[in-house]
């Protein structure tokens, strides 16, 4: 290892690296949730889907030796969870919040149960792309070691944004999300569209979980998630149901999470508990400063309600 002392430059580089490393699960879960919520439904169960995805991804990658199959398995099981949520919630008088919480706990329990034999083995990691090839500084090289899923996530966000605002399918999803009655009047089938949107949203969350277990931190254990799935659901509101804004929100949260360790590593170690709270303080500040007493939340799908 070459020795390079970066001094205080280490902080922005660490935050950049942390933002890239930590943000991907946030990004995938929140993109999935944007899709689901745009169709007019909450899926609070994505934390469970994320953890189950992390477990199946790791297990499948270990059994087959291919991280790609791991990701596909995670997306598939995530999709199953989403589909189940979508179908159950399309029944009359079923509350999507309650089902979401139930599925979150179910997903975690199943993942812990089936994941027991996979805590010890080491599964192959996902490949990453060295965007730091131009630099001679090892810290920069490490920070810019970008996983393919991060890039796929950004393209998926752009794709979703384009789909919502420029295609017929996107329009249909938004109509279903804004008014069930209007959608019925148009001859659409809201339950079907919501079920499909929830299933695809679940698949996104499953991929986010596979990133956790197959790349960063890159191992399966029962404490792998520490609440990323729940925070990502909140990020969607923070990002005002806009997929592009979700990417920025995810990167912001990733970078803020890297602040604590980075400051300690340059010797600023007093009050690290406070630095660890940075992402949450940041959320509060942004929500307060962007709030408005005169208008309701812009971009919120009309059918989205917790009192249905």
């Amino acid at each position: 290892m070459t020795e390079t002392d970066l001094g205080l430059w280490a902080i922005p580089i660490a935050i950049l690296g942390g933002a890239i490393r930590v943000s991907t699960p946030f990004m995938f879960v929140s993109l999935g949730e944007v899709l689901t919520e745009r169709s007019g439904r909450f899926n609070l169960g994505l934390e469970g889907t994320l953890i189950f995805g992390a477990m199946t991804g790791y297990a499948a990658a270990y059994e087959t030796g291919s991280p790609l199959i791991g990701i596909m398995a995670a997306a598939f099981t995530g999709g199953l969870f989403g589909l189940f949520h979508g179908i159950v919630c399309s029944l009359p008088r079923v509350n999507d919040i309650a089902i979401g919480i139930a599925l979150m706990l179910l997903g975690m329990g199943l993942a812990f149960f089936f994941g027991k034999p996979y805590i010890q083995p080491v599964a192959p990691d996902l490949p990453s792309i060295e965007f730091g090839w131009w630099s001679v500084i090892p810290q920069v090289k490490a920070a810019l070691r970008v996983n393919v899923l991060f890039i796929i996530g950004i393209f998926a966000a752009i794709g979703l944004w384009w789909m919502f605002f420029a295609t017929r399918i996107g329009l249909l999803i938004r109509v279903v999300g804004d008014s069930t009655n209007a959608a019925r009047a148009m001859g659409l089938r809201p339950a079907l569209i919501r079920a499909v949107a929830t299933a695809i949203g679940g698949a996104f969350a499953g991929i986010g979980g596979a990133y956790l277990s197959l790349f960063y931190p890159g191992s399966w254990n029962e404490g792998i998630s520490s609440g990323q799935g729940l925070m990502a659901v909140a990020l969607v509101i923070f990002a005002r149901w806009n997929p592009i804004a979700c990417v920025w929100a995810a990167i912001l949260f990733g970078g803020a999470g890297a602040l604590g360790p980075a400051l300690q590593s340059v010797g600023l170690s007093d009050g690290y508990y406070l630095f660890y709270a940075a992402p949450y303080v940041l959320t509060l500040c942004v929500l307060i400063f962007t709030s408005s007493p005169t208008r309701a939340m812009t971009g919120a799908p009309g059918e989205l309600s917790i009192t249905k």
Binding site: M1, E3, T4, D5, L6, A10, I13, A14, G17, G18, R21, V22, F112, K116, I119, Q120, V122, Q139, A142, A143, L212, Y216, P217, G218, S219, N221, E222, G223, I224, S226, Q228, G257, A258, G260, P261, A262, Q264, S265, V266, G267, S269, D270, G271, Y272, Y273, Y276
Partner: protein
Amino acid sequence: MSSTLFSRRNFLKVSAALAGSYALGSMPKLANAGSHGLTVGFIYVGPKDDFGYNQAHAEGAAAVKLMKGVNVVEEENVAETVDVQKTMESIINFDGAALLFPTSFGYFDPHILEIAPKYPNVRFQHAAGLWLADKHPMNVGSYFGYIGLGQYLNGIVAGHMSNSKKLGFVAAKPIPQVLQNINSYLLGARQVDPAITCQVIFTGEWSLAVKEAEATNALADANCDVITCHVDGPKVVMETAAGRGSYVCGYHANQSPLAPQKYLTGAEWNWSGVYTRMVQTVLDGGAIKNFDRGGLAEGYIKMSPLGPAVSDAARSQFKDTEAEMLRGNFAAYKGPLRDNAGNTILSAGESLVETDISLESMNYLVEGVIGSTS
């Protein structure tokens, strides 16, 4: 109210008792206790195959399992809350355990202290808790190993293998045991080169995979080239550090399978020996000491075999120091010694031997450690 009614253990207990009484009439509940020998319960705070703290205890439980006339009951993922009280009561009442090893630090106060007086015939053995004769029940005991000595030996190897003269330590919380490990790691390294420093990063929790990975990356960014840790499961730290090209020293259990080329050595618990000895004492009708401590010489801790990268110089100093420790009364803390805020800890000529009880209330980081305790 509802939480006690619907707890998993209670449900099991009540439903099994109902089923039992239905089928067998008024058969006494504890009929099986004793008839099949001694039942020993182990309770872990996390999964028992975590390459870490819990695995070390589970390896001890596995050794107890092989003993004749002993049944072992294990329960994983028991939180340091009222959960552990229910688990303990259930293992006592339902499985008939007479000896319990609730292994996590936070189980002691108030949970063990609450349950123990209700079951005077059951022995509670707690790792790390400070049992006090004038305050705590006599059927409770505490035991721990001087694993700081293992981190001292880690430090000696790390001191030889470091090129940047900067070591890294990923720590969970600034409690005395953790601080002692950090300090011992640096003091060991300073036996090789007094200019070596150690960067510490606290994650704030015992098990937070993403934060541990971030902390390890931050240490690698700061040019720390030999990294060790004190968290519940060192797997993430070991894999991340080795992935960044740093050497690693293990903790709790042997993690060499995770990074065979980069693993230098590791400070491991040796609970198999300790637990089989304690269980044998109970089987023989003897009494376990209420306050039990030991180091390398007493077989409480052991070192992982040295890895392939370790140099000959490191190997020989490691072996010499280990031999010195095996003779007992080893002093890692020798004056003059200051903390990293400049206060004097020990003046010239003073020293703290491994058994010194003041080491267990350590609240400082020694000079050369970069970091702070709050």
